[in-house]
Amino acid sequence: MLKIEANWIDLRYLDALSNQNTFIHRLNPCVKLLATLSFILAVTSFSKYEITGLFPFFLFPFVLLSLGNLPTAPMLKRLLIVAPFVLFIGIFNPLFDHTPVLKLGSVVISGGWISFFSITIRLCLTITAALILVATTGIDAIGSALLRIGVPKIIVIQLLFMYRYLHVLAEEFIRTVTAYSLRSFAGEGVQFRAWGSLLGQLLIRSIDRANRIYQSMLCRGFDGEVRLRRTSTLTSTDIGFLACWLVFFLLVRCFNVPELLGKLLVGVN
Protein backbone atom coordinates (compact mmCIF):
# COMPACT_ATOMS: atom_id res chain seq x y z
CA MET A 1 0.00 0.00 0.00
CA LEU A 2 2.93 2.26 0.55
CA LYS A 3 3.98 1.83 -3.04
CA ILE A 4 1.78 4.60 -4.38
CA GLU A 5 2.99 7.05 -1.79
CA ALA A 6 6.65 6.17 -2.29
CA ASN A 7 6.36 6.56 -6.05
CA TRP A 8 4.68 9.87 -5.69
CA ILE A 9 7.36 11.16 -3.34
CA ASP A 10 10.00 10.12 -5.89
CA LEU A 11 8.14 12.12 -8.50
CA ARG A 12 8.06 15.22 -6.34
CA TYR A 13 11.71 14.79 -5.56
CA LEU A 14 12.76 14.70 -9.20
CA ASP A 15 10.62 17.78 -9.75
CA ALA A 16 12.42 19.59 -6.98
CA LEU A 17 15.80 18.59 -8.38
CA SER A 18 14.89 19.95 -11.79
CA ASN A 19 14.22 23.37 -10.29
CA GLN A 20 17.86 23.99 -9.46
CA ASN A 21 19.91 26.57 -11.26
CA THR A 22 23.20 25.07 -12.37
CA PHE A 23 25.16 25.09 -15.59
CA ILE A 24 23.45 21.88 -16.73
CA HIS A 25 19.99 23.08 -15.74
CA ARG A 26 20.45 26.28 -17.71
CA LEU A 27 21.30 24.44 -20.93
CA ASN A 28 18.80 24.32 -23.75
CA PRO A 29 16.47 21.34 -23.18
CA CYS A 30 16.77 20.25 -26.84
CA VAL A 31 20.51 19.94 -26.42
CA LYS A 32 20.17 17.80 -23.32
CA LEU A 33 17.55 15.62 -24.99
CA LEU A 34 19.71 15.08 -28.07
CA ALA A 35 22.83 14.39 -26.01
CA THR A 36 20.96 11.81 -23.93
CA LEU A 37 19.47 10.16 -27.00
CA SER A 38 22.83 9.86 -28.74
CA PHE A 39 24.36 8.59 -25.51
CA ILE A 40 21.78 5.80 -25.30
CA LEU A 41 22.17 4.99 -28.98
CA ALA A 42 25.94 4.76 -28.66
CA VAL A 43 25.74 2.56 -25.55
CA THR A 44 23.17 0.17 -26.98
CA SER A 45 24.94 -0.13 -30.34
CA PHE A 46 27.86 -2.13 -28.92
CA SER A 47 28.04 -5.85 -29.56
CA LYS A 48 26.60 -7.94 -26.78
CA TYR A 49 30.01 -9.12 -25.54
CA GLU A 50 31.34 -5.60 -25.11
CA ILE A 51 32.45 -4.65 -21.63
CA THR A 52 35.60 -2.57 -21.73
CA GLY A 53 34.36 -0.26 -24.48
CA LEU A 54 31.37 0.72 -22.32
CA PHE A 55 33.37 2.08 -19.41
CA PRO A 56 34.32 5.46 -20.91
CA PHE A 57 30.61 6.20 -21.20
CA PHE A 58 30.39 6.48 -17.43
CA LEU A 59 31.96 9.89 -17.85
CA PHE A 60 28.64 11.28 -19.13
CA PRO A 61 26.51 10.47 -16.05
CA PHE A 62 29.36 11.30 -13.68
CA VAL A 63 29.92 14.74 -15.20
CA LEU A 64 26.22 15.55 -15.36
CA LEU A 65 25.60 14.35 -11.82
CA SER A 66 28.27 16.64 -10.46
CA LEU A 67 27.75 19.68 -12.68
CA GLY A 68 24.01 19.38 -12.20
CA ASN A 69 24.47 19.08 -8.43
CA LEU A 70 22.40 15.91 -8.27
CA PRO A 71 22.51 13.44 -5.38
CA THR A 72 23.63 9.93 -6.30
CA ALA A 73 21.65 7.92 -3.75
CA PRO A 74 18.12 8.39 -5.18
CA MET A 75 19.37 7.52 -8.66
CA LEU A 76 20.95 4.34 -7.36
CA LYS A 77 17.78 3.50 -5.49
CA ARG A 78 15.70 3.80 -8.66
CA LEU A 79 18.27 1.68 -10.45
CA LEU A 80 17.96 -1.03 -7.81
CA ILE A 81 14.16 -1.01 -8.09
CA VAL A 82 14.21 -1.42 -11.86
CA ALA A 83 17.22 -3.74 -12.17
CA PRO A 84 15.64 -7.08 -11.15
CA PHE A 85 13.26 -7.19 -14.13
CA VAL A 86 16.04 -6.72 -16.63
CA LEU A 87 18.55 -8.94 -14.89
CA PHE A 88 15.92 -11.68 -14.71
CA ILE A 89 16.03 -11.86 -18.51
CA GLY A 90 19.77 -11.31 -18.60
CA ILE A 91 20.60 -14.11 -16.16
CA PHE A 92 19.55 -16.65 -18.78
CA ASN A 93 22.56 -15.72 -20.90
CA PRO A 94 25.08 -17.66 -18.76
CA LEU A 95 22.72 -20.65 -18.87
CA PHE A 96 22.57 -20.79 -22.65
CA ASP A 97 25.93 -19.45 -23.77
CA HIS A 98 28.81 -21.61 -22.59
CA THR A 99 31.44 -20.58 -25.13
CA PRO A 100 34.61 -20.01 -23.16
CA VAL A 101 35.98 -16.61 -24.09
CA LEU A 102 38.20 -15.45 -21.30
CA LYS A 103 40.66 -16.98 -18.92
CA LEU A 104 41.55 -15.25 -15.67
CA GLY A 105 44.16 -17.42 -13.99
CA SER A 106 42.53 -20.83 -13.91
CA VAL A 107 38.95 -19.60 -14.09
CA VAL A 108 37.34 -19.82 -17.52
CA ILE A 109 34.63 -17.26 -18.11
CA SER A 110 31.89 -18.11 -20.60
CA GLY A 111 30.43 -15.76 -23.17
CA GLY A 112 27.15 -15.84 -21.29
CA TRP A 113 28.64 -14.26 -18.21
CA ILE A 114 30.39 -11.64 -20.31
CA SER A 115 27.13 -10.66 -22.04
CA PHE A 116 25.29 -10.69 -18.72
CA PHE A 117 27.85 -8.30 -17.28
CA SER A 118 27.53 -6.19 -20.41
CA ILE A 119 23.74 -6.02 -19.94
CA THR A 120 24.25 -4.89 -16.34
CA ILE A 121 26.54 -2.08 -17.42
CA ARG A 122 24.14 -1.00 -20.17
CA LEU A 123 21.35 -0.98 -17.59
CA CYS A 124 23.28 1.31 -15.23
CA LEU A 125 24.23 3.68 -18.04
CA THR A 126 20.86 3.99 -19.79
CA ILE A 127 18.76 4.29 -16.67
CA THR A 128 20.90 6.93 -15.00
CA ALA A 129 20.98 8.88 -18.28
CA ALA A 130 17.19 8.98 -18.43
CA LEU A 131 16.82 10.02 -14.80
CA ILE A 132 19.51 12.67 -15.14
CA LEU A 133 17.72 14.12 -18.15
CA VAL A 134 14.56 14.66 -16.12
CA ALA A 135 16.33 15.78 -12.97
CA THR A 136 18.22 18.48 -14.87
CA THR A 137 15.47 19.53 -17.27
CA GLY A 138 12.00 19.16 -15.78
CA ILE A 139 8.86 18.20 -17.61
CA ASP A 140 7.92 21.66 -18.93
CA ALA A 141 11.26 22.13 -20.64
CA ILE A 142 11.15 18.60 -22.02
CA GLY A 143 7.72 19.41 -23.43
CA SER A 144 9.05 22.49 -25.20
CA ALA A 145 12.01 20.47 -26.51
CA LEU A 146 9.66 17.82 -27.87
CA LEU A 147 7.60 20.52 -29.53
CA ARG A 148 10.71 21.95 -31.14
CA ILE A 149 11.86 18.64 -32.57
CA GLY A 150 8.48 18.22 -34.21
CA VAL A 151 6.30 16.15 -31.89
CA PRO A 152 2.62 16.98 -32.57
CA LYS A 153 1.28 19.58 -30.17
CA ILE A 154 -1.62 17.49 -28.95
CA ILE A 155 0.83 14.87 -27.68
CA VAL A 156 2.90 17.45 -25.82
CA ILE A 157 -0.24 19.01 -24.33
CA GLN A 158 -1.42 15.57 -23.27
CA LEU A 159 1.94 14.89 -21.63
CA LEU A 160 1.94 18.18 -19.71
CA PHE A 161 -1.72 17.97 -18.75
CA MET A 162 -1.32 14.44 -17.48
CA TYR A 163 1.77 15.30 -15.53
CA ARG A 164 0.00 18.24 -13.92
CA TYR A 165 -3.00 16.20 -12.80
CA LEU A 166 -0.92 13.21 -11.82
CA HIS A 167 0.04 15.12 -8.71
CA VAL A 168 -3.55 16.03 -7.91
CA LEU A 169 -4.91 12.54 -8.48
CA ALA A 170 -2.04 10.82 -6.71
CA GLU A 171 -2.85 12.80 -3.57
CA GLU A 172 -6.51 11.93 -3.86
CA PHE A 173 -5.77 8.24 -4.46
CA ILE A 174 -3.45 8.08 -1.51
CA ARG A 175 -6.22 9.49 0.70
CA THR A 176 -8.74 7.01 -0.69
CA VAL A 177 -6.49 4.01 -0.30
CA THR A 178 -5.52 5.08 3.21
CA ALA A 179 -9.18 5.45 4.13
CA TYR A 180 -9.87 2.01 2.66
CA SER A 181 -7.04 0.28 4.47
CA LEU A 182 -7.96 1.92 7.79
CA ARG A 183 -11.40 0.36 7.48
CA SER A 184 -10.31 -3.08 6.28
CA PHE A 185 -8.61 -5.87 8.16
CA ALA A 186 -6.95 -7.56 5.26
CA GLY A 187 -3.85 -5.44 5.22
CA GLU A 188 -2.17 -5.27 1.84
CA GLY A 189 -4.24 -4.56 -1.21
CA VAL A 190 -7.84 -3.90 -2.13
CA GLN A 191 -10.22 -6.86 -1.70
CA PHE A 192 -11.95 -8.37 -4.70
CA ARG A 193 -15.41 -7.14 -3.76
CA ALA A 194 -14.22 -3.55 -3.64
CA TRP A 195 -12.29 -3.59 -6.93
CA GLY A 196 -15.08 -2.17 -9.03
CA SER A 197 -16.53 0.29 -6.57
CA LEU A 198 -13.24 1.74 -5.33
CA LEU A 199 -11.70 2.25 -8.73
CA GLY A 200 -15.05 3.11 -10.29
CA GLN A 201 -15.71 5.86 -7.74
CA LEU A 202 -12.27 7.26 -8.37
CA LEU A 203 -12.90 7.13 -12.11
CA ILE A 204 -16.22 8.96 -11.85
CA ARG A 205 -14.61 11.56 -9.65
CA SER A 206 -11.77 11.97 -12.12
CA ILE A 207 -14.14 12.43 -15.03
CA ASP A 208 -16.11 14.98 -13.01
CA ARG A 209 -12.89 16.75 -12.29
CA ALA A 210 -12.01 16.78 -15.98
CA ASN A 211 -15.37 18.39 -16.69
CA ARG A 212 -14.81 21.03 -14.01
CA ILE A 213 -11.37 21.72 -15.46
CA TYR A 214 -12.93 22.12 -18.87
CA GLN A 215 -15.54 24.52 -17.47
CA SER A 216 -12.92 26.62 -15.78
CA MET A 217 -10.82 26.62 -18.93
CA LEU A 218 -13.84 27.96 -20.79
CA CYS A 219 -14.33 30.61 -18.11
CA ARG A 220 -10.79 31.75 -18.75
CA GLY A 221 -11.31 32.13 -22.46
CA PHE A 222 -10.25 28.71 -23.75
CA ASP A 223 -10.95 28.59 -27.49
CA GLY A 224 -9.73 25.09 -28.28
CA GLU A 225 -6.14 26.18 -28.67
CA VAL A 226 -3.68 25.51 -25.87
CA ARG A 227 -0.87 28.03 -25.98
CA LEU A 228 2.46 26.77 -24.74
CA ARG A 229 5.21 29.14 -23.78
CA ARG A 230 8.33 28.46 -25.76
CA THR A 231 11.37 29.97 -24.16
CA SER A 232 15.00 28.89 -24.20
CA THR A 233 17.25 30.12 -26.93
CA LEU A 234 20.12 28.22 -28.43
CA THR A 235 23.43 29.74 -27.34
CA SER A 236 26.97 28.87 -28.32
CA THR A 237 27.40 27.16 -24.93
CA ASP A 238 24.57 24.80 -25.80
CA ILE A 239 26.06 23.96 -29.16
CA GLY A 240 29.48 23.51 -27.59
CA PHE A 241 28.06 21.18 -24.95
CA LEU A 242 26.33 19.03 -27.53
CA ALA A 243 29.30 19.02 -29.91
CA CYS A 244 31.72 18.02 -27.16
CA TRP A 245 29.61 15.09 -26.09
CA LEU A 246 28.90 13.95 -29.63
CA VAL A 247 32.61 13.94 -30.43
CA PHE A 248 33.33 12.13 -27.19
CA PHE A 249 30.68 9.48 -27.85
CA LEU A 250 31.96 8.99 -31.38
CA LEU A 251 35.54 8.65 -30.22
CA VAL A 252 34.88 6.17 -27.43
CA ARG A 253 32.46 4.30 -29.69
CA CYS A 254 35.10 3.85 -32.38
CA PHE A 255 38.18 3.41 -30.22
CA ASN A 256 38.34 1.19 -27.21
CA VAL A 257 39.99 3.63 -24.86
CA PRO A 258 40.31 1.33 -21.82
CA GLU A 259 42.03 -1.26 -23.95
CA LEU A 260 44.46 1.24 -25.43
CA LEU A 261 45.16 2.57 -21.97
CA GLY A 262 45.68 -0.90 -20.57
CA LYS A 263 48.00 -1.87 -23.39
CA LEU A 264 49.98 1.27 -22.82
CA LEU A 265 50.33 0.49 -19.13
CA VAL A 266 50.97 -3.24 -19.37
CA GLY A 267 52.99 -3.00 -22.53
CA VAL A 268 51.25 -5.71 -24.57
CA ASN A 269 50.87 -5.26 -28.27
Binding site: N7, T52, F58, I89, T126, I157, Q158
Partner: protein, 344 residues
Protein backbone atom coordinates in the same frame (compact mmCIF):
# COMPACT_ATOMS: atom_id res chain seq x y z
CA UNK B 1 6.32 -5.93 -19.61
CA UNK B 2 8.24 -2.67 -19.83
CA UNK B 3 11.31 -3.28 -21.95
CA UNK B 4 14.57 -1.64 -20.94
CA UNK B 5 17.30 -0.18 -23.10
CA UNK B 6 19.80 -2.70 -21.82
CA UNK B 7 18.19 -5.55 -23.71
CA UNK B 8 17.47 -4.02 -27.09
CA UNK B 9 19.56 -3.01 -30.07
CA UNK B 10 19.37 0.41 -31.74
CA UNK B 11 18.00 -1.17 -34.93
CA UNK B 12 15.01 -2.72 -33.19
CA UNK B 13 14.54 0.29 -30.91
CA UNK B 14 14.72 2.66 -33.87
CA UNK B 15 12.34 0.64 -36.01
CA UNK B 16 9.79 0.47 -33.22
CA UNK B 17 10.24 4.18 -32.51
CA UNK B 18 9.44 4.88 -36.15
CA UNK B 19 6.42 2.60 -36.08
CA UNK B 20 5.06 4.12 -32.86
CA UNK B 21 5.77 7.66 -34.03
CA UNK B 22 3.85 6.97 -37.22
CA UNK B 23 0.85 5.65 -35.33
CA UNK B 24 1.05 8.54 -32.87
CA UNK B 25 1.08 11.07 -35.71
CA UNK B 26 -1.98 9.40 -37.21
CA UNK B 27 -3.77 9.31 -33.85
CA UNK B 28 -2.80 12.92 -33.10
CA UNK B 29 -4.23 14.04 -36.42
CA UNK B 30 -7.45 12.16 -35.80
CA UNK B 31 -7.87 13.58 -32.32
CA UNK B 32 -6.99 17.10 -33.42
CA UNK B 33 -9.50 16.98 -36.24
CA UNK B 34 -12.17 16.12 -33.74
CA UNK B 35 -13.88 19.33 -32.84
CA UNK B 36 -14.57 18.40 -29.23
CA UNK B 37 -12.31 20.51 -26.98
CA UNK B 38 -13.54 18.63 -23.95
CA UNK B 39 -11.14 15.81 -24.73
CA UNK B 40 -8.05 17.87 -23.92
CA UNK B 41 -8.59 17.98 -20.15
CA UNK B 42 -10.32 14.59 -20.19
CA UNK B 43 -7.37 12.80 -21.78
CA UNK B 44 -4.96 14.42 -19.36
CA UNK B 45 -6.99 13.59 -16.29
CA UNK B 46 -7.74 10.03 -17.40
CA UNK B 47 -4.06 9.49 -18.12
CA UNK B 48 -3.28 10.61 -14.60
CA UNK B 49 -6.09 8.39 -13.36
CA UNK B 50 -4.63 5.29 -14.99
CA UNK B 51 -1.15 6.20 -13.86
CA UNK B 52 -2.18 6.60 -10.26
CA UNK B 53 -4.55 3.63 -10.35
CA UNK B 54 -1.76 1.37 -11.57
CA UNK B 55 0.02 1.97 -8.30
CA UNK B 56 -2.88 0.53 -6.28
CA UNK B 57 -2.56 -3.15 -5.37
CA UNK B 58 -5.60 -5.34 -5.92
CA UNK B 59 -5.54 -8.50 -3.84
CA UNK B 60 -6.24 -11.61 -5.89
CA UNK B 61 -8.70 -13.84 -4.01
CA UNK B 62 -7.30 -17.14 -2.85
CA UNK B 63 -3.69 -16.12 -3.34
CA UNK B 64 -1.35 -13.91 -1.41
CA UNK B 65 -0.35 -11.87 -4.43
CA UNK B 66 -1.82 -8.77 -5.96
CA UNK B 67 -2.49 -7.45 -9.44
CA UNK B 68 -2.87 -4.09 -11.11
CA UNK B 69 -5.10 -2.28 -13.51
CA UNK B 70 -4.33 -2.69 -17.20
CA UNK B 71 -4.51 0.84 -18.48
CA UNK B 72 -4.64 0.61 -22.26
CA UNK B 73 -7.92 -1.22 -22.64
CA UNK B 74 -9.75 0.84 -20.00
CA UNK B 75 -8.64 4.03 -21.74
CA UNK B 76 -9.73 2.69 -25.11
CA UNK B 77 -13.15 1.85 -23.64
CA UNK B 78 -13.49 5.34 -22.14
CA UNK B 79 -11.85 7.50 -24.79
CA UNK B 80 -11.83 5.55 -28.03
CA UNK B 81 -8.65 4.09 -29.53
CA UNK B 82 -6.89 7.17 -30.94
CA UNK B 83 -7.12 9.31 -27.84
CA UNK B 84 -6.38 6.25 -25.69
CA UNK B 85 -3.25 5.54 -27.70
CA UNK B 86 -1.94 9.06 -27.16
CA UNK B 87 -2.78 8.86 -23.47
CA UNK B 88 -1.01 5.52 -23.02
CA UNK B 89 1.98 6.87 -24.93
CA UNK B 90 2.21 9.82 -22.54
CA UNK B 91 1.89 7.52 -19.52
CA UNK B 92 4.72 5.34 -20.80
CA UNK B 93 6.85 8.42 -21.48
CA UNK B 94 6.44 9.69 -17.94
CA UNK B 95 7.16 6.21 -16.60
CA UNK B 96 10.33 5.99 -18.68
CA UNK B 97 11.55 9.45 -17.71
CA UNK B 98 10.61 9.71 -14.07
CA UNK B 99 10.59 6.13 -12.90
CA UNK B 100 13.12 4.58 -15.29
CA UNK B 101 10.41 2.01 -15.94
CA UNK B 102 11.22 1.07 -19.52
CA UNK B 103 13.99 2.79 -21.41
CA UNK B 104 14.01 5.81 -23.69
CA UNK B 105 15.23 3.84 -26.71
CA UNK B 106 12.78 1.09 -25.79
CA UNK B 107 9.91 3.59 -25.53
CA UNK B 108 8.89 2.88 -29.13
CA UNK B 109 8.68 -0.82 -28.35
CA UNK B 110 6.71 -0.20 -25.17
CA UNK B 111 4.24 2.16 -26.82
CA UNK B 112 3.71 -0.37 -29.58
CA UNK B 113 3.37 -3.36 -27.24
CA UNK B 114 1.10 -1.75 -24.69
CA UNK B 115 -0.54 1.01 -26.69
CA UNK B 116 -0.98 -0.08 -30.26
CA UNK B 117 -1.74 -3.72 -29.55
CA UNK B 118 -4.42 -2.91 -26.97
CA UNK B 119 -5.96 0.22 -28.52
CA UNK B 120 -5.83 -0.71 -32.19
CA UNK B 121 -5.94 -4.50 -32.05
CA UNK B 122 -7.55 -5.84 -28.87
CA UNK B 123 -10.13 -3.05 -28.52
CA UNK B 124 -11.57 -2.81 -32.05
CA UNK B 125 -11.18 -6.48 -32.95
CA UNK B 126 -12.22 -8.12 -29.68
CA UNK B 127 -13.92 -5.75 -27.23
CA UNK B 128 -16.01 -3.83 -29.76
CA UNK B 129 -17.51 -6.79 -31.64
CA UNK B 130 -18.20 -8.64 -28.38
CA UNK B 131 -19.94 -5.79 -26.60
CA UNK B 132 -21.69 -3.94 -29.41
CA UNK B 133 -23.70 -0.79 -28.87
CA UNK B 134 -25.96 -1.74 -25.99
CA UNK B 135 -24.17 -4.52 -24.17
CA UNK B 136 -25.46 -6.72 -21.38
CA UNK B 137 -23.49 -7.18 -18.17
CA UNK B 138 -22.27 -10.59 -19.25
CA UNK B 139 -21.04 -9.31 -22.58
CA UNK B 140 -19.21 -6.40 -20.96
CA UNK B 141 -17.58 -8.80 -18.54
CA UNK B 142 -16.56 -11.26 -21.24
CA UNK B 143 -15.41 -8.54 -23.63
CA UNK B 144 -13.23 -6.83 -21.02
CA UNK B 145 -11.55 -10.01 -19.91
CA UNK B 146 -10.99 -11.47 -23.37
CA UNK B 147 -9.68 -8.21 -24.78
CA UNK B 148 -7.36 -7.70 -21.81
CA UNK B 149 -6.01 -11.25 -21.95
CA UNK B 150 -5.54 -11.39 -25.71
CA UNK B 151 -4.11 -7.86 -25.88
CA UNK B 152 -1.55 -8.73 -23.24
CA UNK B 153 -0.69 -12.00 -24.96
CA UNK B 154 0.05 -10.05 -28.14
CA UNK B 155 2.11 -7.60 -26.12
CA UNK B 156 4.11 -10.34 -24.43
CA UNK B 157 4.74 -12.01 -27.76
CA UNK B 158 5.93 -8.70 -29.21
CA UNK B 159 8.34 -8.38 -26.27
CA UNK B 160 9.71 -11.82 -27.11
CA UNK B 161 10.17 -10.96 -30.78
CA UNK B 162 11.76 -7.58 -30.09
CA UNK B 163 14.16 -9.05 -27.56
CA UNK B 164 14.99 -11.89 -29.92
CA UNK B 165 15.70 -9.59 -32.87
CA UNK B 166 17.88 -7.40 -30.68
CA UNK B 167 20.14 -10.36 -30.01
CA UNK B 168 21.37 -9.17 -26.61
CA UNK B 169 19.61 -11.88 -24.64
CA UNK B 170 20.60 -15.49 -25.27
CA UNK B 171 17.15 -16.85 -24.41
CA UNK B 172 16.01 -19.22 -27.15
CA UNK B 173 12.68 -18.41 -28.76
CA UNK B 174 10.71 -21.34 -27.35
CA UNK B 175 12.00 -20.93 -23.80
CA UNK B 176 11.27 -17.22 -23.85
CA UNK B 177 7.77 -17.75 -25.23
CA UNK B 178 7.08 -20.42 -22.63
CA UNK B 179 8.33 -18.05 -19.97
CA UNK B 180 6.40 -14.98 -21.08
CA UNK B 181 3.03 -16.17 -22.35
CA UNK B 182 1.80 -18.12 -19.27
CA UNK B 183 2.87 -15.37 -16.86
CA UNK B 184 1.07 -12.79 -18.93
CA UNK B 185 -1.97 -15.03 -19.24
CA UNK B 186 -2.32 -14.81 -15.46
CA UNK B 187 -1.55 -11.08 -15.38
CA UNK B 188 -3.97 -10.45 -18.24
CA UNK B 189 -6.71 -12.33 -16.46
CA UNK B 190 -6.34 -10.21 -13.34
CA UNK B 191 -6.11 -7.00 -15.35
CA UNK B 192 -9.19 -8.03 -17.27
CA UNK B 193 -11.06 -8.73 -14.03
CA UNK B 194 -10.18 -5.30 -12.65
CA UNK B 195 -11.28 -3.63 -15.89
CA UNK B 196 -14.48 -5.69 -15.93
CA UNK B 197 -15.21 -4.71 -12.32
CA UNK B 198 -14.75 -1.03 -13.13
CA UNK B 199 -16.72 -1.17 -16.36
CA UNK B 200 -19.62 -2.98 -14.68
CA UNK B 201 -19.60 -0.46 -11.84
CA UNK B 202 -19.62 2.42 -14.30
CA UNK B 203 -22.46 0.81 -16.23
CA UNK B 204 -24.48 0.65 -13.04
CA UNK B 205 -23.62 4.05 -11.61
CA UNK B 206 -22.93 6.29 -14.57
CA UNK B 207 -23.99 4.49 -17.75
CA UNK B 208 -23.85 7.67 -19.81
CA UNK B 209 -20.05 7.52 -19.76
CA UNK B 210 -19.99 4.19 -21.56
CA UNK B 211 -22.85 5.05 -23.88
CA UNK B 212 -21.08 8.12 -25.13
CA UNK B 213 -17.99 6.23 -26.20
CA UNK B 214 -19.95 3.25 -27.50
CA UNK B 215 -21.87 5.62 -29.76
CA UNK B 216 -18.53 7.14 -30.64
CA UNK B 217 -19.54 10.48 -29.28
CA UNK B 218 -16.67 12.44 -27.97
CA UNK B 219 -14.04 10.78 -30.06
CA UNK B 220 -15.69 9.45 -33.17
CA UNK B 221 -16.06 5.88 -34.34
CA UNK B 222 -12.90 4.25 -35.59
CA UNK B 223 -12.68 3.01 -39.11
CA UNK B 224 -11.38 -0.51 -39.33
CA UNK B 225 -9.98 0.16 -42.79
CA UNK B 226 -7.63 2.83 -41.51
CA UNK B 227 -6.55 0.64 -38.62
CA UNK B 228 -5.71 -2.14 -41.02
CA UNK B 229 -3.77 0.25 -43.24
CA UNK B 230 -1.83 1.63 -40.26
CA UNK B 231 -1.12 -1.91 -39.11
CA UNK B 232 0.05 -2.87 -42.57
CA UNK B 233 2.39 0.11 -42.82
CA UNK B 234 3.77 -0.51 -39.36
CA UNK B 235 4.36 -4.17 -40.20
CA UNK B 236 6.03 -3.31 -43.46
CA UNK B 237 8.24 -0.76 -41.80
CA UNK B 238 9.15 -2.98 -38.91
CA UNK B 239 9.72 -5.94 -41.17
CA UNK B 240 11.94 -3.92 -43.46
CA UNK B 241 14.00 -2.44 -40.68
CA UNK B 242 14.27 -5.74 -38.88
CA UNK B 243 15.39 -7.65 -41.92
CA UNK B 244 17.98 -4.96 -42.56
CA UNK B 245 19.16 -5.53 -39.05
CA UNK B 246 19.08 -9.30 -39.41
CA UNK B 247 21.19 -9.14 -42.53
CA UNK B 248 23.71 -6.85 -40.86
CA UNK B 249 24.13 -9.21 -37.96
CA UNK B 250 23.83 -12.67 -39.40
CA UNK B 251 25.30 -14.81 -36.65
CA UNK B 252 23.28 -17.91 -37.35
CA UNK B 253 22.89 -17.14 -41.01
CA UNK B 254 26.58 -16.86 -41.64
CA UNK B 255 27.19 -20.07 -39.83
CA UNK B 256 24.70 -21.95 -41.95
CA UNK B 257 26.14 -20.39 -45.10
CA UNK B 258 29.53 -21.69 -44.10
CA UNK B 259 27.98 -25.10 -43.70
CA UNK B 260 26.38 -25.02 -47.11
CA UNK B 261 29.15 -23.53 -49.23
CA UNK B 262 32.09 -24.82 -47.29
CA UNK B 263 33.54 -21.32 -47.30
CA UNK B 264 33.81 -19.12 -44.28
CA UNK B 265 32.40 -16.06 -45.89
CA UNK B 266 30.63 -15.12 -49.02
CA UNK B 267 32.35 -12.45 -51.04
CA UNK B 268 30.40 -9.26 -50.82
CA UNK B 269 29.97 -7.42 -54.09
CA UNK B 270 31.86 -4.18 -54.74
CA UNK B 271 30.26 -0.76 -55.03
CA UNK B 272 27.54 0.44 -52.73
CA UNK B 273 27.46 -2.84 -50.87
CA UNK B 274 31.16 -2.67 -50.25
CA UNK B 275 30.83 0.89 -49.09
CA UNK B 276 28.22 -0.06 -46.53
CA UNK B 277 30.25 -3.02 -45.45
CA UNK B 278 33.17 -0.74 -44.83
CA UNK B 279 31.03 1.81 -43.07
CA UNK B 280 29.55 -0.85 -40.88
CA UNK B 281 32.93 -2.24 -40.10
CA UNK B 282 34.16 1.19 -39.11
CA UNK B 283 31.22 2.03 -36.92
CA UNK B 284 30.43 -1.30 -35.36
CA UNK B 285 33.49 -3.45 -35.21
CA UNK B 286 36.42 -1.20 -34.61
CA UNK B 287 36.15 -1.56 -30.86
CA UNK B 288 36.13 -5.32 -31.06
CA UNK B 289 39.44 -6.06 -29.48
CA UNK B 290 41.56 -5.98 -32.58
CA UNK B 291 42.03 -2.70 -34.33
CA UNK B 292 44.25 -3.61 -37.19
CA UNK B 293 41.80 -5.68 -39.15
CA UNK B 294 39.68 -2.73 -40.09
CA UNK B 295 42.25 -1.76 -42.69
CA UNK B 296 41.36 -4.75 -44.82
CA UNK B 297 39.67 -4.21 -48.18
CA UNK B 298 36.06 -3.22 -48.24
CA UNK B 299 35.03 -6.47 -49.82
CA UNK B 300 35.74 -8.36 -46.62
CA UNK B 301 32.75 -9.45 -44.69
CA UNK B 302 31.71 -7.43 -41.70
CA UNK B 303 31.45 -10.37 -39.42
CA UNK B 304 34.95 -11.66 -39.26
CA UNK B 305 35.90 -9.57 -36.28
CA UNK B 306 33.08 -11.05 -34.35
CA UNK B 307 34.10 -14.59 -35.13
CA UNK B 308 37.58 -13.78 -33.93
CA UNK B 309 36.21 -12.69 -30.58
CA UNK B 310 36.52 -15.95 -28.67
CA UNK B 311 40.19 -16.29 -29.55
CA UNK B 312 41.17 -13.34 -27.41
CA UNK B 313 44.61 -13.79 -25.97
CA UNK B 314 45.34 -13.43 -22.32
CA UNK B 315 47.50 -10.35 -22.64
CA UNK B 316 44.75 -8.40 -24.33
CA UNK B 317 42.12 -9.34 -21.79
CA UNK B 318 44.36 -8.42 -18.89
CA UNK B 319 45.12 -5.12 -20.55
CA UNK B 320 41.39 -4.69 -21.07
CA UNK B 321 40.65 -5.15 -17.39
CA UNK B 322 43.38 -2.80 -16.23
CA UNK B 323 42.32 -0.21 -18.77
CA UNK B 324 38.67 -0.48 -17.82
CA UNK B 325 39.31 0.04 -14.15
CA UNK B 326 41.50 2.99 -14.95
CA UNK B 327 38.86 4.50 -17.25
CA UNK B 328 36.18 4.08 -14.64
CA UNK B 329 38.39 5.69 -12.01
CA UNK B 330 39.17 8.52 -14.39
CA UNK B 331 35.54 9.14 -15.26
CA UNK B 332 34.61 9.07 -11.61
CA UNK B 333 37.35 11.45 -10.52
CA UNK B 334 36.56 13.88 -13.32
CA UNK B 335 33.00 13.90 -12.05
CA UNK B 336 34.15 14.40 -8.46
CA UNK B 337 36.54 17.13 -9.47
CA UNK B 338 33.84 18.98 -11.36
CA UNK B 339 31.53 18.80 -8.37
CA UNK B 340 34.17 20.31 -6.16
CA UNK B 341 34.86 22.98 -8.74
CA UNK B 342 31.22 23.89 -9.17
CA UNK B 343 30.79 24.13 -5.42
CA UNK B 344 34.00 25.94 -4.72
Amino acid sequence: MHMADALISPAVGGAMWAASAGIAAYAAKKVQNDLDDRKIPLMGVLGAFVFAAQMINFTIPGTGSSGHLGGGLLLAILLGPQAAFLTIASILTIQALFFADGGILALGCNIFNMGFLTCFVAYPLIYKPLTGNNPSQGRLFLGSILAAVIGLQFGAFAVVLETLFSGISELPFTTFVLLMQPIHLAIGLVEGLVIAAVVLFIKKEAPEILQKTAAGQPFGAISIKKVVIALFIATLFTGGALSWFASSNPDGLEWSIAGVTGEDELKAPEGIHGFFAELQEKTAFLPDYNFNKSNEPAAASTEQEKSSWPSVDKGTSFAGIVGSLLTLALAFSIGKGLRRLSRG
